[in-house]
Structure formats: C-alpha cells, structure tokens
C-alpha cells in the first residue's frame, strides 16, 4: 500500500484538495475504518487527507437550539459527555457499543457516518433523534437530514469536495426518550447484526404517543427509517401488542441480506423483536 499523506491546515484547503482529486482522495480522521480498508486493499486512495489538524470540526455545544457535534468529535467523547448523557442518553448508549475503548478514543462521529456502513452504530439513533448533517463544500453550505445522508453501502450524499462538518440534533422534547439495541455475538468489538433505535415523545400529559421515530441498522443498504412502523404508534397509547405490530411493520420495511454475520431471515425476525423492545424501553423511559 502506498499513498500520499496530505495535511491541510484549513478546511478551505482540504475541500479544494478533495474537489480536485475527487476519486483519488480519501479523508483520514480517526482512521479506524479507512486504514483497515487500505491495509486490506479494499480502498486504494492515492491521497489520504488528514483533517485532524483542521480547526472548527471538533467539539460539542449545547444550547436552546439543541446539540451540535463536530465531525471530529470522538466516539469516546460522545460516550462520556455529561451533557449528552443527560440530554441524549441514547447517543451515549449507542457510542458505548462501538469497538473498544481504544477504538472509541480514535474513531470519530464523522468517520462513523461517512464510512456509511449500514451497521454504523451512530446512524440509527441520530436518525431517530431527527438529526441533520451540516455539509460544507466548494459551493458553500447545505443541510441534509440524517436519514437522507446515506446513499448506499459506503456511499453518502457528499459531493466532490464536500465535507461533513457537523451534526445538529434538535433539543429534546419534554417527555421524550430513546433506546438503542444492538445485536451481536460479543459484548465488545462487534459489528451489529441488527441495530434498532427508537425515540418516543409522549403528549404533555397521559400515555399517548405524540411522536415516534424508529431507525434500523444492518438490515438495508443504508441505515433505514422505519416510517410505517412509526405510523402504527403515532398518536396512540402504545400497548405491548401495538409495539408488536410496529415490529411487524418494521420487518416489512427492512430488506436484509444474508452474509456471514447472519441470515436475512434471522435479521428480519430480529427487526421485529428489537423494534418492539426499543419502543417499549423508550416509552418506559419517556414516562419517567
């Protein structure tokens, strides 16, 4: 493997380089995915553009407008951030399921999302939270909802020279809570066989579900929002049986494949089980 290491000091410089070497350049942030892919010759970029030295892509801010996560924020930071644990515990919960502490210390949010694995553990909870991606590029800035950010396995909507700068999460509604359930053979160092995130918001009073968002990982070419399952629940008092029905709807929406990590049949079954569990767990948390 041989590549040229490019170290831009400013974002503008990085974007220009990426724009002029679009098919030959890849971004290096934490390196936990790209370096493995390069070593395994699954990707052979001519240039690796290290953006770790670029300012303005790091950090967590929280205010009345919600949460902003710089693309270079490490997974470990998300896992351990007091404000995230308080306001968006589902994100910390999902972050904690990724790799090992060592991997989480290197890996970044932007990398987890831009690698665009259908199994990306941060994707499903961010979709369920209604997050948006702020994208910077040669043509300026644009915002894309998280569920529209992915275009296929390993593909995002990022155009030539474009960089994911930041992920914005709206402020948590009162009486809302989320859950992320990841299925894998091990307790650490694992890739989700299936992952399901649900965020439930209750009416200000009572048990009726004002809004719900469900996202599925590893069961479609992209992290998938399960809209039909949401429709079953929205505006309803969610019983166990209704959660089961939502699970069945989510199973219909999923389009899993068979690979060495699991069969399509098992994955589809698990979408049903995990959707029900995630919804009920989120519901329970939203009540308290």
């Amino acid at each position: 493997m041989r590549f040229e290491f490019v170290q831009p000091s400013a974002l503008q410089e990085a974007m220009q380089f990426l724009a002029s070497h679009q098919d030959e350049a890849a971004i290096l942030a934490g390196g936990t995915d790209i370096l493995v892919q390069v070593k395994q010759k699954k990707r052979l970029p001519k240039y690796l553009v290290n953006i770790k030295g670029v300012s303005g892509l790091d950090g967590i801010t929280y205010n009345g407008q919600g949460l902003r996560l710089g693309a270079l924020t490490t997974i470990r930071t998300i896992e351990t951030s007091p404000i995230i644990k308080e306001k968006y515990p589902v994100l910390a919960e999902a972050a904690a399921t990724i790799g090992s502490v060592q991997v989480r210390n290197r890996g970044t949010l932007g990398g987890n999302l831009c690698n665009a694995s259908p199994a990306a553990d941060m994707a499903a909870p961010l979709i369920a939270l209604g997050a948006t991606a702020r994208i910077l590029g040669p043509q300026g800035e644009r915002t894309v909802s998280m569920e529209e950010f992915f275009a296929g396995p390993g593909k995002t909507v990022l155009g030539p020279g474009e960089v994911l700068a930041e992920v914005a999460v709206p402020p948590p509604s009162p009486r809302s809570a989320g859950a992320y359930i990841k299925l894998g053979p091990r307790k650490a160092m694992d890739i989700a066989v299936v992952g399901v995130a649900a965020v439930v918001t209750l009416e200000s009073q009572g048990d009726r579900c004002r809004d719900v968002r469900i996202a599925l990982g590893s069961v479609a070419p992209i992290p998938l929002r399960a809209k039909k399952a949401e429709t079953v629940l929205r505006g309803q008092v969610v019983s166990y049986d209704l959660a089961v029905t939502a699970g069945h709807k989510a199973m219909e929406e999923a389009s899993p494949i068979t690979d060495i990590r699991g069969s399509a049949e098992y994955r589809r079954d698990m979408v049903g089980v995990l959707t029900r569990r995630a919804v009920l767990r989120a519901l329970e948390a939203a009540r308290t």
Binding site: P185, R186, A188, M189, I191, G262, Y266, V273
Partner: protein
C-alpha cells in the same frame, strides 16, 4: 511430605519480560541485510498447476529470490512424531493445489511491498477441477479425489480408500447384543466446525544460511526438533547442518507444533544468500495454519431404565482438509466418554476435503467428540428423568475399569471431580427463570514424550537450568519450582535460558500437557544428579558422610550443626580445583506412560429465547491435576481452557464457502473478548499419578467439556437441544421456532 517451593502459587517468572515487551518473539529477530519473504496463495480450492512463470517477478528491482516447489527435491513428507506416518504433504504445491491459500510460490525482497508486488507478477496457469468441500461431498462414491495417488504414498494404510486416508477402530463386548439388552437406545448425530487457535502471535520466523551452508532458523514453535527433522527431510540436508532456535511463543495451543513456512523461508534465504524473515498476516494464519478439525459424530447408546450404560457405538468423521493431520485416533480413544461400557465400539475416519489442512488444537479431538458424547449423556438423563450428575456418577470410571481401547485405569480422580462440583455448589438444582445449568465430564491424558534437561551451578551460587521443553503455558515456572525444591535454593536464584537444537539434546515437542510431567521428571533427575555431586564434594571437604548433609537456603549444611556449611557458590568454586571440575547434572527421560486426566465442568447460562443470545454467567470446573506444582498456574490454565471452550461453544467457527475461509480475521472470526468471559470457579483435585511428584497434565483438559456443558445448560434454560457447534443465536432461534411449530 512438606514442601517449601512446590505447591505454591508463584507468579510466572517470564511474566514481567512479556508484559514489559522485553521477551523476544519470532518477529523480533532482525539480522543485517535481512529480506522479507511472502508467499503466493492459491486462488482455487482444487486445480492443476499447468505452468508457473516467475520471470517478471524475478526482474522486479528489489527482488532477491523467487522459489517454487521446483526448487526443492520432489518428495512427500510427514512428521513421524504426530503419526500416522502417511507421507502425503509437500512443502509447497507442486502439480496441483488442494486448498484455497496453499502456497504456490514465494518471493524474498528488500521490503514487504516489493515482495507483494512481485507476487502479482507471478503468472500461474491453473486448470480448475471439481472439488470435495465437505465430509458428505468427499464420501460420495464418485467424489473428486483430493489425493488421486493416495494408495502409492509412503506409509498408506490398508484401510485407505477414496478420500478416506485413515481409519482407527476399537471394540469390546458385543454392541448389537448390548442394544438388544438395553431398555432404551438413543441415536444422534452431532457436528463441530473447524476453528483456529487464534493465538495472538502469528507464525513468524527468520532463516539464514552461513558461508559453509549451515542453516539457522529462528521460529515461534512448540517443536524445534521436529522442525529440524522436517527441514532435513524436505530440503534433503544433513540434520547437523540445521539449527533451529525456538523463541518465546505468543500462544501456541497446538497450532505451533507444525512446520509451516520454515522450508520456504530457508529456501529463499539459500537462494537470495541473505537472511529472510516471514511473518504470517492474520488472514494467512486462517488460510494456511493448522486449525482444529471439524468432526461429524454419530452416537448410538443403549441404557437400562436406571441410566446404566449397556452399549455405546460411535462413528467419528474427522475432516482433515487437504492433508492428513486431524487427530483421528483420539476420536476412538475419547469418543465414548469416561464411562464403564460393557459393549462398546468406536470407529474414527480421517477424510480429505479441499480445505486448509487441520492439525492440533488443545486436547486435539477431545472437545469435538466430547461435545457429542456429553450432549447425548444429557439427553439420556433428561429422557430418563434422572439428574444429569447421577447418570455420570453411576457410570463413571473407577480404578480397574477399562476403556474401549483397552486402557486400564489406575488411581484416577474422575469421581472426585464430580463430587467436587456438587460439594462446592457449582452443580445444584435451584435456578431462576430463563437460566439454566449444564454439566459435562471430560477426559484427556498426559503425554509422555522424551525430555532432556541440564542443571549447572555457577560460582556465585546461582543455578542454570537448560531444557529442551518449550514453554507455552508458564511451565518453566513449575520446573524452576521443582528444581528449587530439590536443591534447596530460592527460585529467583535459578536462570532458565531457552536453548536451541545445537545446545540441548533431543527433546520431544510441547504437546499432550506433558511438560511438568516428563519435563519435571527430567529436571528432577538432573537436580538429583548435580545434588549427588554437590554432596560428594562437600562430604569430602568437611570430612563428613554425604548422608549427614542437607541442602537449604542455597547452602549445604551438616545436619544438626548449622555452623558447618558451604554455600553452593563455594561448592562450585571448590569443584573447579578438584577432579570434579564443573557441577553439571543431566536428566534425560524417555517416553513415560501416559497418565489419564479428568474434569467435570458446570456452565450457567441465560438464554434470550427471542434473540437466541446466550450469556454464559458462570463456569465452574473441577480437575484432577495429580499434584499442583503451582496452583496459580493450574487455576490460570483451567480458566483459560474454559474461556476458550466457551468461544468454541457459542461463537467460534471458520466459515467456508466453496473451500474458501470467509472470515479470516478477528472482526468476523469471533473469539470471546474479556468482556464476554464470565466469572469462573476452579476446584483442584489431587489424585497422584506415577509421575514426578504425582503430577498430571493440566493445560489441555479444561477445554474439553466446556462446550458440552454450555450446550446442556442452554437446553436446561430454553428447552432446545443444539447438536451443532457453535450454538449461535441464530441456531437457538431456529430451534425455538421449530419447537413451537
């Protein structure tokens, strides 16, 4: 007998250097001018090699040598130590490739990148031919033959036919009459997958040839002397022209018993006239190293209503892959379980398939067949409504019982291990909903290969121990304890450099949990030898009788009078001026009779019936170790074995698609992480053997029953019986679905 050093849980003497990074492993050896060697793996599972063109590779700047099978004599070899002596193996593919990944050519170059680029320039013309990927495929009457010329191979047995290269059988009594006399007969088939040992350190070696043509190979190995003889055979070199230097082993588990790339590495060094290093990548480890064989087992068992075994018949098919190496005979020896069975019959078959060649992995053969045998014992107990513990207790071997192979039990600790799991509360009746407990017994043996050891006393009173016994488990700490005890010195006063094949006489490989047993006997003999010399010399000096002397605290005393003494250093110094010269004790022991080993384990699990996920909550094991020279090491081995057994039970498997390993890495080749390993309890049973200090082998035994105990616990928790390893969530869910209809 009161001991002061043996029987104590001393920390490993090699621990600190390994933790700090000072220990030297295969990949640490660096020589001036050293090249990097890489091999070209076959892209086909079964194909004829029409032509290999290395011309372009040789011309690439930086390439110093390219070799193919043509660079060595055309011959097939086997390693006699590992029997059977069926010579079916070539060090590199010659006229055809038999598995995906089989080395076809190799390159040495100034760096790895150049070497790999050169590989891409080697043109190999293949003609793909039909392949046999699985045991059923290979046993079909018109199956493609993995070795068409099997019957012409040196050492081939009369039983060889088609893809079956080996059959081992044993019988006693009359099984068909036994089944007729039984109240119930159970028959089941079980399957286990191929799994890799997953040691942390991959195979790594450096080869160099000096001006006179003498070769030195530094390598990570459990068997330096076997590598030396394999190299001599393969390259047709005189044995004395080869020196093998064993290095620290970063995990072996049997996987480093075999010669892998050493002949290729040495050939490259010879051709390039420069030292060459080869280190397998993790993927290459999965492609060409020597994993545990897959086994399909059919067991038929007849019992009385009260659970007494009347007859048992086992058929064990070992999938050896492309070359022989599966531990077939152990299927016969251990497949029917450690039970009194008046009518017994066991047949084990070695079957070729177009997959990587299997080898040995911690208690080779036993975990596979024990999964079958102990799962079925559990089925029988539950069908008869008898406590699974009781069924084992009723049938367990005692002194005087005989196995199907005619091995007569001496004093053995099997029933004591059963007692122990109950006494300690590992096996008990109460349980919570969704949880289950499973029990399994297992047997293994202590191998008795030859060992050489040498003990010398330095002038400063420190003691040097040299032994050919390679340490893969911390065994050198135990050997030091045995020596320290015998010579009355502190263990810290003993140094244990690792000798090579030039500096220590022949010693058998580290296998069969034998080092503290055979190695211990050699060390004890060497210690007694040097002790005799010390006592003789001191007796002369102090003008007392040798019987009146004793050793302790690094000194030699006159019994009862502590004033009259000499330090060992003074004795060594004194020896230099006498006709003794140097104090040097030798211990060479030949083959010892194998000592049987037994264990009983209990697993406690929680099963999520909807997702099929199994959480192993607790593992507990009782094991007869004869005598625990180092109880800390013994407990460590037991815990390590159970952890590895747990991986085998619920997650590990090499997944093949048309002969190609689909998960040749640790992302998808799952082994448990520290977070997955449950709390473990260990109970040491000590029923002495005839060996030194009464020890029995420890290292391999604990992996044997674990997978069966877990599968039995899963049945207890979820009511489903999974007869194929690993018990994955998907298999549990499928079984639950099937059960519900």
């Amino acid at each position: 007998m009161a001991f002061s050093v043996v029987g104590k849980g001393l920390p490993r003497i090699d621990g600190a250097s390994k933790v700090r990074g000072g220990a030297v492993f295969g990949a640490d050896v660096k020589l001036p001018g050293m090249l990097i060697g890489v091999f070209l793996p076959s892209p086909h599972a079964h194909a004829r090699i029409r032509h290999i063109d290395t011309y372009r590779a040789e011309g690439l700047p930086g390439v110093k040598g390219v070799v193919t099978a043509q660079d060595a004599p055309s011959l097939r070899y086997c390693t006699p130590a590992y029997g059977p002596s069926l010579c079916d193996r070539t060090f590199m593919a010659r006229s055809k490739v038999r598995y995906f990944g089989e080395p076809v050519a190799a390159v040495a170059a100034v760096d790895e990148e150049t070497a790999r680029e050169a590989l891409s320039l080697i043109a190999v013309e293949y003609e793909e031919i039909p392949a046999a990927f699985t045991i059923p495929d290979a046993l079909l009457p018109d199956a493609p033959l993995v070795h068409e010329e099997l019957l012409s191979y040196q050492g081939v047995g009369r039983e060889a036919r088609g893809n079956i290269y080996l059959q081992r059988s044993a019988a006693r009594g009359d099984v068909s009459r036994g089944f007729t006399e039984s109240d119930f007969v159970f028959e089941h088939t079980f399957a286990t997958p191929m799994v890799h040992q997953s040691y942390v350190e991959p195979h790594a070696m450096v080869a160099a040839v000096d001006d006179a043509g003498r070769a030195t190979v530094w390598t990570t190995t459990q068997a330096p002397f076997n590598i030396r003889s394999d190299l001599a055979t393969i390259l047709q070199m005189p044995l004395s022209q080869i020196r093998v230097v064993p290095l620290e082993v970063g995990g072996g588990f049997g996987g480093k018993l075999f010669t892998t790339l050493e002949p290729i590495c040495l050939l490259l060094a010879r051709k390039a006239r420069r030292p060459v290093r080869m280190v397998m990548s993790r993927e290459e480890e999965f492609l060409i190293a020597r994993p545990r064989a897959a086994v399909t087992a059919r067991l038929k068992t007849g019992v009385k209503r009260d659970g007494t075994l009347v007859a048992r018949e086992g058929e064990f098919y070992f999938d050896t892959g492309a070359y022989q190496g599966a531990p077939v005979s152990f299927g016969v020896r251990f497949g029917l379980g450690p039970y009194r069975i008046p009518n017994a019959k066991a047949d084990a078959y070695g079957v070729y398939t177009n997959k990587v060649s299997a080898g040995y992995f911690r208690a080779p053969g036993a975990p596979q067949v024990t999964f079958a045998s102990e799962s079925q014992m559990d089925i029988i107990a539950r069908e008869l409504g008898i406590d699974p513990w009781e069924v084992r207790w009723k049938n367990a071997w005692e002194e005087g019982d005989e196995s199907v192979t005619g091995e007569r039990m001496g004093r053995i600790g099997l029933k004591k291990t059963l007692e122990e799991v109950r006494r300690r509360g590992m096996w008990r009746a109460d349980r919570e909903v969704g949880r289950g407990r499973g029990l399994a017994c297992g047997q293994w043996y202590t191998g008795g290969g030859a060992t050489s050891a040498c003990v010398t006393i330095y002038e400063d009173g420190t003691v040097g121990l040299l032994t050919g016994a390679i340490d893969i488990t911390g065994s050198r700490t135990g050997l030091v304890q045995i020596l320290a005890e015998e010579l009355g010195v502190a263990p810290e006063r003993i140094v244990v450099p690792v000798p090579d094949t030039d500096t220590i006489p022949w010693t058998g490989e580290t296998s069969g949990s034998r080092i503290t047993y055979g190695g211990g006997a050699a060390v004890l003999q060497a210690a007694r030898d040097v002790k005799g010399q010390i006592l003789g010399l001191v007796a002369e000096k102090l003008e007392v009788s040798a019987e009146d002397l004793e050793l302790g605290g690094g000194r030699v005393y006159v019994k009862g009078s502590r004033e009259k003494s000499l330090s060992l250093g003074e004795v060594a110094l004194a020896a230099q001026g006498t006709k003794v010269g140097a104090l040097l004790g030798w211990g060479v022991v030949g083959r010892l009779s194998p000592a049987p080993v037994f264990a009983t384990q209990v697993a406690e699990v929680q099963v999520d019936a909807e997702t099929g996920q199994v959480e192993v909550l607790k593992l507990g094991g009782a094991q007869d170790v004869g005598f625990a020279v180092n109880p800390l090491s013994v407990a460590g081995q037991m815990e390590g074995g159970m952890a590895q057994g747990m991986g085998y039970g619920i997650m590990e498997a090499m997944i093949f698609f048309r002969g190609k390993v689909e998960n040749p890495n640790f992302a998808d080749g799952k082994v448990p992480t520290a977070a997955d390993v449950p709390s473990m309890a260990t109970a040491i049973v000590e029923e002495p053997s005839d060996g030194p200090l009464g020890v029995r082998g420890v290292g391999e035994m604990p992996i044997v029953p674990t997978a069966a105990a877990i599968a039995n616990a899963i049945h207890d928790a979820a009511g489903v019986r999974i007869r194929e390893l690993p018990v994955t969530p998907e298999r549990v869910v499928a079984a639950v679905k099937e059960k519900r209809g």
